[in-house]
Symmetry: C4
Subunit: 275 residues, 4 copies
């Protein structure tokens, strides 16, 4: 009996190594197969939406969709079983994404309008990040995330100001240009203001009066100058983060900004680590 | 009599704490209610402008507008009364914004074309900043404002150059493309040049001759390179500000911007740290 | 005789002070009047081009244009006479701009098509910079110019790469989309590629085939990533320039990056300047 | 016999100096002639594609194309002969570009549809870089390339996130806007999302429903904020690279990236400067 449990444990550990790990050959192969599977299943979602292609291959797409769903279902069950804390995995962000990407196909049996579930199927793409996560790309992502998180206060103030400008200018343009020039309501005018301040500029709505064009010009130049602010913030944080990653100061001479990998203080030569 | 004044003072202080403060539970609750009120009243201004919605809820919107105006009026009076210096508050930026956001509804009784006052009603949104102001977002806003203020000379030189380029290129394009291609006057050509150099690019006016498209291409690439300048300025100031904010001023001579690794004040030679 | 020359010299000096200087009250007033004059004369050039306005005020504009031209001519003569080296002034950049901005009106007497000289008249705007030049904006401008000059090699390499990408992608799109989709020649395709890579995006020409849209998407993302490069360069140079403006190292302890205004070394307290 | 070989070797060396070198007068002249030749031959490719010009000068263009091709062929042979390792040159990037830029004209004799080879002819432009390569622009290019290479992990994470956002939003918009508003398939919706997030904004496809415009607004603001990230990365790397290039490596242990103010190597404690 004890042996059986031991055997099970060993099996569980082995599966865990293959599915969650990435050091063994089997783990790497599994990741690669999964990556191809995810990309292929998202590609199918896309191709299905192209009318000319779907007309000819509708059956094949349907079949492949089921193949992928069943494979992903098996993978999900394996993850649950091999995980030391199945519930924790199931409730983690990635666990939910894994589950969500299975549901649409099964629901399609009962409900006819599976069309609305297309988006959920495209969410599968997020799963690609798990595979990247395991590699050395993680460092870069972490640094970026840290920089963005450290600058969140400034970014919120910045976005708040942009929203304020956009609402006031939007209301102004609604009054000046009016319904006949495409500014049919304040929300639509605000949409126009966002399209303009972000320098997207579709041109589906464009000011036609002299006053309107003058205000639009001012808004563009403001947007232009404002574009500098988030860039400045992120750059600043990235540089700042870099400095924080230093080791701190030397206990003997007080020299600051010692590189992380220091064994000796570069100013007074004090030994900092046991070698 | 003295007691009465004391009682009044106490009351005034209590109201002041609730309205202007944000440390007590009542103060926080007040801020939250105000925030919801402001957002709701701005939302109503927006929804009123959508023809289909206004057709059905015109009455309700009118009623709600009055409710919010009366509430904001009461708040304004409370602020005036509880403020230790009512006049100073009334003439402050926020005091004027508070007053301005009330007027349009009252004016609407006398004047028919309250349409023109829509913008003023949307100005209410600025009041949201007061609430943010009280929190820890203030630090981020202050840093941004400092960076922008410190770089004002460079930004003005930069905007001046952009305006110069835009006027000269605008005149050139008016001559080359002419009225038949949409460049109907020099101001309109300048509008086009601004739309182009800021990379908005509506496409409502676009060059059609070969020479015009060549000049436009040059303008775009210049705009592209120029985009780098304000970003560089702001980033530089943010990093610079960071360095300046380090040690504070010298206790003897008051010299500011001491480098953080200072042992002595670089102005008067005062010893700052025990060595 | 000698006295006469002395008197003339004094007059010349006085005029020089008023026209070129900006420390005396007269000098400041002159600058202000000149600024208003330049802006007004450029405004007239613009308004003349608006058909509806020109129809009613053509005569007035013509009269004002002559008034400004005569005033600027007198100013030009005064500058020539009061300058210690008239020829040097006449051949300087600003001297040529001053002269150029006069010519079009005089030429208009002899030649009928003064239309083509509009641009030259708008060049007057550059003269505004002289007035700014005299003030403390100069520092900011110098810093910007230095940063741009220091990064010229990188900017040229960058622009060269962009041009290369644009030519190759332009040729590719001409082949793929062809004349029927608006890509009527390689130069026009290159124009489209520039409009796209700079994120202007007029939409007057847009890819319609699947392959074309895929290449366009790639081009946009490349353009997006590439936008980072000039910004990085300029920011880097601005920060670098800042460091160079430091004082150098302490002669006693060798501490680097001493602030420009240091009297004492902030590390060892060594006296750096005679007070 | 030996003398003959020696003479040949000398000749080979001389040709090598002219073609590959840039120190002698002949070498500089050769580079200049080549530069003009390359630019002229690319200009011909462009002009040929303009129907009106090609109609009149078709014969001349054909003739010039052959002249350039023969000249470039001779240059290619000279490079092969004078190169100390002909095969290494032939298989290098520049060698392949040199060969590729010759083939289309020769192929045009046998195959009729040389149209498809236009792009390959425009690739000649890359050869210009060889000439720039030899000059002091190289330093700038190297610094840029290093900065981009050092930030590759972050850039890949960044592009991955952008692609993820673009696919999910594209699918969402396909569902919301649907085929009747131009979002005819998911790939096309993704194309629209890329056009929007990169702030290009052609306007050939634009959301028309309220929900669609709201999502589009959110996407634009995200794109706006995201634009800051690659800029921050590149700027950070440029500044970082600058710092790394300061003192060089330790003479004892070879440790790189020593801070410029080091007195001792922070890795092995070796004394670097006399104190």
């Amino acid at each position: 009996m004890n042996k059986e449990i031991d055997g099970l444990k060993k099996w569980q550990q082995k599966i865990h190594e293959v599915i969650f790990g990435y050091h063994t050959f089997a783990g790497k192969l599994f990741d690669l197969v999964l990556l191809v599977g995810i990309l292929a299943s998202v590609a199918i979602v896309m191709l299905e939406s192209v009318r000319e292609i779907d007309a000819n291959f509708s059956q094949e797409f349907h079949f492949l969709e089921w193949v992928f769903t069943i494979l992903f279902t098996l993978e999900y069950i394996a993850r649950l079983l091999s995980s030391p804390r199945p519930l924790k995995y199931a409730l983690s962000f990635m666990g939910i994404v894994d589950l969500l990407s299975l549901i649409p196909t099964y629901l399609g049996i009962f409900i006819d309008g599976a069309h609305a579930l297309l988006v959920i199927r495209s969410i599968r793409l997020i799963r690609v990040f798990r595979i990247l996560k395991l590699t050395h790309f993680m460092g870069g992502a972490q640094q970026l995330a840290d920089a963005l998180w450290a600058s969140r206060h400034k970014v919120i103030v910045f976005l708040g100001s942009v929203l304020c400008i956009v609402v006031i200018i939007g209301t102004l343009m609604f009054m000046i240009e009016g319904r006949s020039h495409g500014f049919s309501s304040i929300p639509k005018s605000i949409y126009w203001a966002i399209v303009t301040i972000t320098t997207v500029g579709y041109g589906d709505i464009a000011p036609e009066t002299v006053v309107g064009q003058t205000i639009a010009s001012a808004l563009m130049i403001v947007g232009y100058a404002i574009l500098a602010v988030p860039t400045g913030i992120v750059t600043h944080e990235l540089i700042h983060a870099d400095k924080k990653n230093n080791l701190g100061s030397c206990p003997r001479c007080g020299q600051k900004n010692l590189p992380k990998e220091s064994n000796y203080c570069f100013n007074c030569g004090e030994k900092l680590k046991e070698l």
